[in-house]
Amino acid sequence: MSDVNQAGDGCGAPAGGVSVTAAANVGNQAVVEGRVLRDNVPLSTGYARLLGTGDEFVAEVPLGEDGGFRFFAAPGTWKLRVLAPGGARADRDVPAEIGKITKVEVAV
C-alpha cells in the first residue's frame, strides 16, 4: 500500500483508537476532538460519529482508552453523535475551523 497506509492511516480507525492526551498536529487542519464520559469515567467502548447536513454520515471512530475521539473535518458546523452500549446516544453541534482544535466533552 502507499506510504500513507503503511503509516497506519487507512480509511478507518487509528490503531488503538484516538488518545486525546497526544496533541494533534493542527497545521492547516480543522480538528474536532474530545472525550466521552459515563459517570465521570472515560468510556472506552463506544463510537463517535461526525454528521453533516441532514445527519449525513461523514466519519466515525471508536473511542480510545481515554474515551477520546478526533476528526480532521472540513470547516463548518457538524453534528457529533456518540453511540454507547445500552442504546445510549448523545448529539452535540460542533464548529470546525482551519488551524483550530474544537474540544468537546460528552457525557452519556
Binding site: S2, G10, C11, G12, G46, G52, A59, G87
Partner: protein, 280 residues
C-alpha cells in the same frame, strides 16, 4: 449469492463459532482491537501485515495467501465468518480478498464488532489454537478486481461508484474526516462516477440496510444502471469492498469489481481526467 448466504447474525455466531468447520476471523484496521478482546474462538488476520505485500503496493501472492491460511489453521472447506470494526470495512475487504483467491465459503457477521460491542456481548482475550492446514488457493479471480487502465477505460461506459464522502468526492478533502489530510496528489473524482458514500448502505449499528432500501439508494436515487457493469472505488479499496459486497453479494449484481488502487492511485496518476465539485 444472497443475503442469507453472505451474512450471519450475532445469535448465529454465538451458537456456532466453536463448531468444527467454522472459523471466525476478526479483521480490523485498528489491528490492536483483537488483542484487547475479541469474539470467543476468533482468530486474527492483520489486513496490512498479512494481506499486503511488504514491499510492493499489492496483495500477497497466491502462495503467500496459501501460507497465511495454512498457518492460521483454515482449510479449503471451512466456513470462514469475518467480522471487524468500522462497520465491517476491513472485514468486507477480507471477504472480497478471500473470494479473489477462490474461497467461496465465506460470510460476514452483520454489524461486525461495532454492533457486538454496542450489544454488550462477550469479548475475550483468549486466543484459540488451531492446527496448521495445507490450504490451496486459486489464482486471483480477475472478474472481481479492477486495475487502473480498466478504470480509465470505463469512464462513460460502465458505472463508476465513488463510495467516499461527499467532501472527498468534491475534492474538498483528500481523506476521511477522521484522518490527517494527506494522500493523493490531487483531489476530486473520476469523471462520470456516481457518489454513493458507503455509509448509505449501513444502519447506525453497522448492519446492512435491507435489499429494498439498498436498491432504492443505488439504482433509483443515485442512478447506478443495473444493466451495466460496475466498478467501485474509494481511497484505498476497503470502503469500496463494503460497497462491492452490497452490490455483488446482497443485490446480486453480476459484474461488479473493486478498484483497490482507488483514489490514492488514481489521484496521483499523471494525465488522467479528474472532475471537481459535488455530485450532480
Amino acid at each position: 449469492m444472497s443475503r442469507s448466504e453472505a451474512l450471519v447474525d450475532a445469535e448465529w455466531v454465538e451458537a456456532h463459532a466453536g463448531d468444527p468447520g467454522v472459523v471466525l476471523v476478526e479483521v480490523d484496521e485498528d489491528t490492536s482491537a483483537y488483542d484487547k478482546g475479541h469474539i470467543r474462538n476468533a482468530i486474527k488476520i492483520d489486513w496490512k501485515k498479512d494481506l499486503q505485500d511488504p514491499v510492493r503496493r499489492d496483495f500477497v501472492d497466491r502462495v503467500g495467501f496459501e501460507k497465511l491460511l495454512s498457518e492460521r489453521g483454515i482449510s479449503n472447506d471451512d466456513l470462514v465468518v469475518l467480522y471487524g470494526g468500522n462497520n465491517n470495512w476491513f472485514a468486507a475487504y477480507a471477504y472480497w480478498y478471500f473470494k479473489l483467491y477462490g474461497h467461496q465459503n465465506v460470510k460476514l457477521l452483520d454489524g461486525g464488532r461495532k454492533k457486538w460491542e454496542l450489544d454488550s456481548r462477550e469479548l475475550t482475550p483468549d486466543v484459540p489454537q488451531r492446527a496448521a492446514t495445507d490450504y490451496q488457493a486459486s489464482e486471483q479471480d480477475a472478474t472481481l478486481r479492477a486495475k487502473r487502465d480498466e478504470v480509465v477505460d470505463a469512464i462513460g461506459k460502465r458505472n463508476l461508484v465513488d463510495v467516499r464522502s461527499p467532501d472527498e468526492f468534491a475534492g474538498r478533502l483528500l481523506a476521511p474526516a477522521h484522518l490527517p489530510q494527506e494522500a493523493a496528489q490531487r483531489g476530486g473524482h473520476i469523471p462520470t462516477a456516481k457518489n454513493v458514500p458507503w455509509s448509505k448502505a449501513a444502519n447506525e449499528d453497522g448492519t446492512f440496510k435491507n435489499d429494498h432500501d439498498l436498491t432504492e439508494i443505488y439504482r433509483d436515487e443515485a442512478g447506478v444502471d443495473f444493466g451495466k457493469d460496475t466498478i467501485a472505488y474509494c481511497r484505498i479499496g476497503e470502503r469500496s469492498a463494503h460497497t462491492w459486497f452490497v452490490l455483488h453479494e446482497l443485490l446480486e449484481q453480476p459484474n461488479v469489481k473493486n478498484y483497490d488502487g482507488s483514489w490514492t492511485e488514481y489521484g496521483s496518476l499523471v494525465g488522467v481526467p479528474i472532475e471537481l465539485g459535488d455530485a450532480r
